[in-house]
């Protein structure tokens, strides 16, 4: 493949430095969930960086400058593209990097470069832009089914309110007990909240961002922000860590200025309500629960304590931790849109989460991410180890009295 375009076109100056700064020490491999299930060092972070350095050399090295850019081995490029898309972008490598490379952001940008070269995305990931244009969501499901199958009849949504709830595509179509729990709890808190009509609540852009397909992002973000702004929203609440991550970190860049509202994860909002006394969990739960930190919530935006605060406020509950938790949590396998292509890896990673929860004798595995919820449930199907999997708001919604639900 003849190169004319520099391989650094999509990278920020800091990312150019990061590629240079990798010492190839391999510490990241010990924390990489893909390594844990494949053992294939060829798809490891230092190998990806080493390969990408080679690509950069082919367009920006001394030989390229003196004699013109040469050909880059097509097979090597394809191998790299597979490796960079097999990653779940969980960021555990960067968290444990002795140099501190921000890999949770670097890998998506390398994917973007692959997209520009026609080497990415991989498999069904390529269908997402068209699906989002057709139906507003990456699953290409009709907007009419976005809320209808799960939205509780007794919950009222205001036309305008300071608080808005964004269900998100994965929650609405693939993890419905979770989003149902969200609105039940929001309703119980009592403050009016608004939602966009189903045809207006389009994809937040995260699946496109993470697979390097940025073309639609600005339009999606501007449509969503305008919709919430028109409803007078001051706080946008969402339970999906991936949505929350792109909303808080990247929406301002695509929107072009600061957002007219703040973003809060549902656990932050609910923990605040419990603290303020506007929500009381009265029913007892005599169980040991283990909480899994979603990568994009803990490492991504630093929401670590609030889910635990919510769980600890449940009378009778015993909260235990995974060996790797908080900033160092282990990926459940559903991140980075890799689950859509590398299904077997994702199932194996999900089962590692189940294995540890069972080994620690937890009665229940608590999740707070729709992608984790869908994938870990899928991983448990047909698996010899079984544990009850519950979303955090699904749990809370079942522990508040009927009086409070109304």
């Amino acid at each position: 493949m003849k190169n004319k375009r520099s391989f650094t076109e999509e990278l920020s100056p800091k990312q150019v430095l990061e590629l240079d700064a990798c010492t190839q020490c391999g510490e990241c491999l010990k924390h990489c969930p893909v390594q844990a299930v494949t053992g294939n060092a060829a798809v490891s972070p230092p190998e990806k960086i080493r390969m990408f350095r080679e690509f950069i050399r082919s367009t920006d090295g001394l030989k390229a400058r003196l004699f013109g850019t040469g050909k880059t081995d097509r097979k090597l490029l394809e191998d790299f593209a597979k490796a960079v898309y097999e990653c779940t972008t969980c960021g555990a490598c960067g968290q444990n990097c002795p140099v501190g490379i921000f890999t949770q952001r670097l890998w998506p940008m390398l994917r973007k470069e692959m997209v520009k070269r026609g080497l990415g995305p991989i498999g069904v990931q390529a269908d997402m832009p068209q699906a989002i244009m057709n139906s507003g969501n990456p699953y290409d499901k009709p907007a009419s089914e976005r809320y209808k199958p799960w939205f509780p009849e007794n919950v009222r949504v205001a036309e305008r309110a300071d608080i808005a709830y964004y269900a998100g595509c994965t929650g609405a179509y693939e993890a419905q007990p979770m989003v149902r729990g969200d609105v039940v709890v929001l309703n119980a808190i009592g403050a009016p909240f608004t939602m966009l009509p189903p045809e207006e609540e389009v994809c937040c852009g995260f699946p496109l961002f993470i697979t390097g397909q940025h073309d639609l992002l600005e339009d999606l973000v501007k449509r969503l922000v305008a919709g919430y702004e028109a409803r007078g929203v001051k706080t946008l609440v969402c339970s999906c860590p991936c949505c929350v991550n792109i909303m808080s970190r990247d929406w301002p860049a695509f929107y072009g200025r600061e957002l007219p509202f703040t973003i809060r994860h549902i656990t932050q909002f609910v923990a605040g309500a419990i603290k303020a006394g506007t929500l009381r969990i009265t029913k007892e739960l005599r169980e040991t629960v283990i909480y899994h930190d979603p990568c994009y919530l803990s490492r991504g935006v630093g929401v670590i304590e609030e889910p635990r605060d919510v769980l600890r406020s449940i009378p009778g509950v015993n909260v235990i931790e995974f060996e790797r938790h908080g900033l160092n949590s282990r990926c459940c396998g559903s991140g980075g849109a890799a689950r859509k292509v590398y299904h077997e890896n994702a199932i194996k990673m999900g089962r590692q989460t189940i294995d540890e929860a069972v080994a620690k004798k937890a009665d229940r595995l608590i999740l707070s991410c729709p992608a984790c919820y869908a994938k870990v449930n899928e991983a448990m199907r047909g698996y010899e180890k079984q544990i009850r999997i519950t979303d955090i708001m699904e749990l809370v919604s079942g522990l508040i009295t009927e009086q409070e639900k109304k």
Binding site: E10, L29, S248
Partner: protein, 228 residues
């Protein structure tokens, strides 16, 4: 032989600077072009700077993830630095006083350096914890071990005429070439250093900046979704 070494030294010196400028150019191009997408930059602070100094000086992040390897790496880097500082006496015609301060520590570091490299090699090759060995890093380790062992031999068992070494180095620097010291160990030592220089990893220059960014990001993380 001396002429070949002198020409090679200039070639390596030129290659080093070309490599440096190509890296700088790559970075400058990234700075100059409008970024296709740049997320918000975490704010700078005195605390972030202080923490990154700790990270750079003590290899703190490595200590947190791999204390066994950290021990070897930290000792290696410190002893390497001391040995390099000790070697500066060959590069100044009039040796500044501060270079003299490093002569004894540098001499001791000369003993420690090969030991630390052997330790790192053992950890890297034989620890079941280690899942990855970069071929380039292994070459560098072996090369450094050979260079440091030869250096140690020259300062202990097979003493070399340091005046001749200084004249040789000064000759290269001043373009008035002197005769190469009559020592096979020195020829090997110097040749291997010439092999080492083009392989020197550029992370020595960039890692401190990336560590600073990492500290800034870490301090800013709680502010992403919480009240400022």
């Amino acid at each position: 032989m001396g002429t070949i070494l002198i020409i090679a030294a200039y070639g390596v010196y030129a290659a080093f600077w070309i490599r440096f400028f190509l890296h700088a150019l790559l970075w400058w191009k990234a700075v100059a072009r409008p970024a296709s997408f740049a997320g918000p930059a975490p704010p700078s602070s005195v605390k972030a700077c202080a923490l990154s100094v700790r990270d750079v000086v003590l290899f703190w992040r490595l200590l947190m993830v791999n204390p066994a390897l950290w021990f070897g790496e930290w000792v290696f880097h410190v002893s390497f630095l001391l040995v390099v500082l000790r070697h500066l006496r060959f590069f100044f015609s009039t040796v500044p006083e501060w270079v003299w301060w490093f002569q004894i520590p540098g001499l001791i570091a000369g003993y420690v350096l090969p030991l630390s490299l052997v330790y790192i090699l053992i950890i890297r090759r034989f620890s079941v914890q280690e899942k990855y060995s970069s071929p380039v890093n292994m070459v560098l380790l072996v090369l450094l071990l050979a260079i440091s062992s030869l250096g140690l031999l020259m300062s202990t068992l097979f003493m070399i005429d340091v005046v001749m070494v200084k004249l040789f180095i000064q000759g290269i620097l001043s373009f008035s070439w002197a005769v190469v010291p009559d020592s096979l160990l020195f020829l090997l030592h110097f040749s291997l250093v010439l092999v080492l220089v083009p392989l020197l990893p550029t992370h020595i220059l960039t890692a401190p900046l990336v560590m600073l960014e990492a500290e800034k990001r870490k301090l800013a993380l709680p502010l992403v979704m919480h009240e400022k």
